[in-house]
């Protein structure tokens, strides 16, 4: 990516962006790993809230009652009571931020409700009684739940094993430097420091990412790990000054248990797999090595260097490995090995030519989980090739549990396939809640 921007500074506003595009945002309930996912079915159009009144000349902060007229991720389009059908003063507000409260909050906190100066009503009591009696408001513990779900078991100084971005077939020891909304900035222990003390190589991922593991994981599953170069001194960086604490298995998401008996994946079996270095491509691939605990190393056919350094580790339950024929069955272009023509490639011929067998279909996790995403929905998504960036994105296709994400304003070659339960996708408004920088769309809207 040629440049990095801050959506807020760039003047990007989700509300007006959605209104212009006429598209919907994916609901919070689609994202199981995000704050308030479980509570979101109690949030819907018609709810009443107390919200900061921006239509007043009063010098102090005052509030007024509003109704949710539209939802977009964490964002709600609100209409102040009294405006009736007049939508000219509607405002987009993030329900996860502090200035939206359940009805009754102002009275408890001794803050008077003051109507917008544009609305005139003879008898506010009767009017509000009529509007509020029998209506619903947001849960009393809404913000408490939000704060609870933003707690993270990781803090600066915790050591982990994470994929080595310079050689994806191995892991590397890293230390947590920053945590924002469950996303970890990890500093490789021997990355080295630049002239200004900056770390020369880091990695961002969500704490539930399949790329990050507890210390000792690599040895446990027989995965290659880079030996830390002890000649590199990182001691002057804040993340390395304190005593480090090794992460433990309980701090990580448990993966689905897979049975690794005689019928498990075997070396040489052919599969289709998302290319870890070109995430918009699903390629002809091979199982290169079977590790322990359900993990396998996968190579992309025809483009491997030959020394195994470009193999990638996937768990057998991963969405990123697919049975032979998956692309054809789902009308997805299969990326074939160099020398083959996509139009004439067939699996039976290829298997015969390579003397290989296809991995049995039952070994794959292709459960239909009923995720709720549909094409056209907007969201905030990590660019997995530059994982510090969370970008404005659109679901371009849904195929089973896979989503093809398009980054708004970018060429389709940047599109990426992700699992519907990936921890690297977030509802509209997530960056605003967590304080993470959002990358706006590039180019003219």
């Amino acid at each position: 990516r040629p440049f990095v921007q801050d959506a807020t500074l760039a003047g990007f506003d989700w509300g007006s962006y959605l209104e212009k595009s006429g598209l919907l945002a994916a609901p919070v309930s689609c994202f199981r790993h995000v704050p308030l996912c479980a509570q979101w079915e109690d949030v819907y159009v018609g709810l009443k809230v107390e919200v900061l009144n921006t239509h007043t000349a009063l010098p102090s902060k005052v509030y007024w009652i509003a109704t949710v007229v539209q939802l977009a991720g964490y964002k709600a389009l609100l209409r102040y009571e009294g405006f009736e059908d007049d939508d000219r003063h509607d405002l987009w507000c993030n329900l996860g931020t502090a200035d939206v409260h359940p009805i009754g909050w102002c009275a408890v906190n001794n803050k008077p409700l003051v109507p917008p100066q544009e609305v005139h009503q003879q008898d506010w009591k009767s009017y509000l009684m009529e509007r509020l009696v029998g209506a619903h408001t947001i849960p009393v513990d809404f913000h408490v739940k939000m704060a609870d779900s933003l707690r993270c078991p990781f803090r600066q100084g915790v050591r982990v094993e994470v994929v080595d971005r310079s050689q994806v077939s191995r892991t590397r020891l890293a230390v947590v430097d920053t945590v924002i909304g469950g996303r970890l900035r990890l500093l490789y222990e021997d990355a080295g420091l630049g002239p200004s003390g900056e770390v020369l190589s880091d990695f961002w991922c969500h704490m539930q990412s399949p790329l990050v593991h507890h210390v000792g994981w690599s040895e446990t599953v027989d995965h290659s790990i880079k030996e830390t170069d002890t000649n590199v001194n990182m001691g002057s960086h804040p993340a390395f000054r304190r005593v480090h604490q090794n992460s433990v298995p309980d701090q990580f998401k448990k993966l689905r248990t897979v049975y690794m008996g005689a019928t498990f994946f075997k070396e040489g079996m052919k599969i289709e797999a998302i290319d870890p270095l070109n995430l918009g491509n699903i390629c002809v691939a091979s199982v290169r090595k079977v590790l322990l605990d359900g993990y396998i190393m996968v190579g992309i056919d025809g483009v491997e260097i030959g020394d195994g350094s470009d193999w990638f580790c996937y768990h057998a339950s991963s969405h990123a490995i697919l049975p032979v024929g998956y692309c054809e069955n789902n009308d997805i272009p299969l990326t074939v090995p160099p020398g083959y023509d996509q139009a004439t490639f067939t699996w039976p011929v290829y298997l015969e030519e390579t003397g290989a067998v296809a991995a049995p279909q039952r070994l794959f996790n292709t459960d239909d989980v009923g995720h709720g995403f549909t094409s056209g929905m907007k969201l905030e998504a990590v660019d997995l090739m530059e994982p510090r960036l969370v970008c404005v994105a659109t679901v371009r296709r849904c195929v089973g549990r896979l989503l093809l994400l398009h980054f708004d304003g970018w060429e389709p070659e940047f599109d990426q396939w992700v699992d519907c339960q990936s921890p690297e996708i977030y509802p509209v408004g997530w960056c605003e809640i967590t304080g993470y920088q959002l990358q706006p769309p590039i180019g003219p809207e």
């Binding site: 479980a38 509570q39 079915e41 109690d42 009443k48 009652i65 359940p102 009805i103 009754g104 102002c106 009275a107 408890v108 001794n110 803050k111 008077p112 409700l113 003051v114 109507p115 506010w124 009591k125 509000l128 009684m129 509020l132 009696v133 029998g134 209506a135 619903h136 408001t137 849960p139 009393v140 513990d141």
Partner: protein, 34 residues
């Protein structure tokens, strides 16, 4: 009370305090099931 997963909706009296005075209304509010 009307129930949704993990939570329940209950009718509650909530206070409204405007510049003209204070009054209470009955609304639906949800809370964790205990």
């Amino acid at each position: 009370a009307a129930e949704s997963s993990g939570r329940k909706w209950e009718q509650k009296q909530v206070q409204i305090k405007t510049l003209e005075g204070e009054f209470s209304v009955t609304m639906w509010a949800s809370d964790d099931k205990k």
